[in-house]
């Protein structure tokens, strides 16, 4: 939050909303970096992206230190994606400057003539003549565009010369589409950015290497599958999935589903086992209680019985003086 305050104390900070850098417009972003607008235009895509990530990290750090919320995950993600993202910028893109990318964007945009997002500003008419004019007109529009959209378009346009520029529904491979559909809609944290960036890689650049593609390839599958169920799926599985990705997303889904079912079955079995154990315990305790009670009763009975015995004996004792003589009398038994 600090660095944006430096730049514009008056403007309501879009950062405050979701903490995303990508919802900033170019203008705002540029000014936060304290660079001139020209600098940006002639900046390499590579550097451009790096600066975005730096800004993002700074912001994330600021957020963590400031709010103390659970943004550590986000931090890690940011950091992680920061590392990943720099790998995934396609070679052609990174060579170009922001300006060139923008020009291509606009050029194609005007060719197809589709309506762009509102932040684009007035539609640039087709058949532009002077470069300078173009430059002037584009600067403000570029500035008004949000980073997110720019990157999306850059990605989309880069790989497919004539896509419809409602780009978020692009009919490229399903994975890509899901990426955009999801992430464009969200004004969310780092992850979509990584996805976006790598999404731009996917259509033409699958061969670039599975690792950088890993995160975004898996995440749409995850998110678009059973999002609630797969949230506990740990990170290692992500990379496994990417290596298998060549077989197709369907297989990966099936495997994940099977794993899921197994886990559920296992959980149920464990629950039954616990219930069994508990029932057994309860029964034992009930038995113990019953036996203890029985024991107590029997003991009391025993005492009672003893008392009665004693009383009986006592009674006999008192009668004894009479019968004693009888007992000790000689008896007339056998003659020997």
């Amino acid at each position: 939050m600090d660095f944006t305050n430096k730049a514009r104390p008056d403007t309501p900070l879009p950062l405050a909303r979701q903490g995303s850098v990508y919802s900033l417009t170019f203008d705002e972003f540029q000014s936060t970096l304290a660079g001139g607008s020209k600098d940006f235009g002639s900046m390499n895509m590579d550097e451009f992206l790096k600066s975005i990530w730096n800004a993002e990290e700074t912001q994330a750090i600021a957020m963590t230190s400031g709010s103390g919320c659970g943004t550590t995950g986000t931090d890690q993600q940011t950091g992680g994606i920061h590392r990943q993202g720099s790998l995934t910028l396609p070679r052609t893109l990174s060579q170009k400057t922001v300006d060139q990318v923008w020009r291509d964007l606009i050029g194609v945009g005007t060719n197809t003539g589709n309506a762009g997002p509102s932040s684009m500003g007035p539609a640039v008419p087709a058949g532009i003549v002077a470069k300078e004019e173009i430059m002037q007109k584009r600067e403000p529009t570029l500035g008004e565009m949000t980073l997110e959209e720019f990157l999306v378009r850059a990605g989309v346009v880069r790989e497919e010369p004539a896509p419809p520029i409602t780009p978020f529904r692009v009919t490229t491979p399903t994975v890509c589409e899901n990426n955009f559909g999801k992430f464009a809609g969200l004004q969310m944290p780092p992850r979509p950015f990584g996805g976006l960036n790598n999404g731009s890689v996917i259509p033409g650049f699958v061969e670039l290497g599975p690792t950088p593609v890993a995160v975004p390839v898996e995440s749409p599958v995850d998110l678009n599958g059973n999002s609630s169920d797969l949230s506990p799926v740990p990170v290692p599985y992500v990379f496994k999935g990417s290596l298998r990705g060549r077989k197709g997303a369907a297989t990966v889904e099936k495997v994940a589903e099977r794993r899921q079912k197994r886990m559920i079955k296992n959980r149920e079995s464990a629950a039954r086992s616990r219930a069994r154990k508990q029932a057994y315990m309860m029964e034992l305790e009930a038995e113990i209680a019953k036996l203890k009670e029985q024991n107590k009763e029997l003991q009391e009975k025993q005492v009672e019985m003893m008392k009665i015995e004693k009383a009986k004996v006592q009674e006999i004792m008192t009668q004894q003086p009479m019968s004693k003589r009888v007992c000790l009398q000689r008896t007339f038994t056998g003659p020997w």
């Binding site: 079955k265 149920e268 079995s269 039954r272 219930a275 069994r276 508990q278 029932a279 057994y280 309860m282 029964e283 034992l284 009930a286 038995e287 209680a289």
Partner: protein, 173 residues
């Protein structure tokens, strides 16, 4: 008397097989004259091959009882799609006596659990009068609740269950 029901509830006998009831009669089930059946205790299938002695205690000689024994975990507890399997039915058991004084409607079948750990439940119903209990056509897909309803037996008056698994199954690994 809730204390007596707890193991039945925790073991899910009340729920999956029976409805909650008030245990008003004492029933004592004993195998081989020395192994009494307590809720949730484990028996080897070899120990329960022959029918047990089922004593119906502290009631009067005029009351008549029906005993049902089923296995709700067929073919396996994780997927009991054949619930329940009927093992034994004895009717017209006079109070204060045992099952040998009743009429065996469905003969005792020795438990042979194959998959997983099964529960075997003994349920005692009090009959309203001497009656001819409807004999189920098959031992499979039996439903104790339905049986009680069909024969107007009402809620159980006693129940007990034991666990059993395959003789050679791995125990306590």
């Amino acid at each position: 008397m809730a204390r007596m029901l707890e193991p039945l509830v925790v073991g899910k006998v009340i729920g999956e097989v029976l409805d909650s009831f008030n245990p008003s009669v004492k029933m004592r089930v004993t195998y081989n004259s020395n192994k009494q059946v307590f809720n949730g205790h484990e028996f080897f299938p070899s120990a329960v091959v022959s029918k047990p002695r089922v004593e119906v205690q502290d009631t009067d000689l005029r009351s008549l009882f029906t005993l049902v024994m089923t296995d709700p975990d067929v073919p396996g507890p994780s997927d009991p799609y054949l619930r329940e399997h009927l093992h034994w039915i004895v009717t017209d058991i006079p109070g204060t006596t045992d099952a040998s004084f009743g009429r065996e409607v469905v003969g005792y079948e020795s438990p042979r659990p194959n998959i997983g750990i099964h529960r075997f439940v003994f349920v005692l119903f009090k009959q309203k009068h001497r009656q001819a209990v409807s004999v189920p056509s098959s031992r499979d897909q039996f439903n104790t609740r339905q049986f009680a309803e069909d024969n107007d037996l009402g809620l159980p008056v006693a129940a007990v269950y034991f666990n059993a698994q395959r003789e050679t199954a791995a125990r306590r690994r």
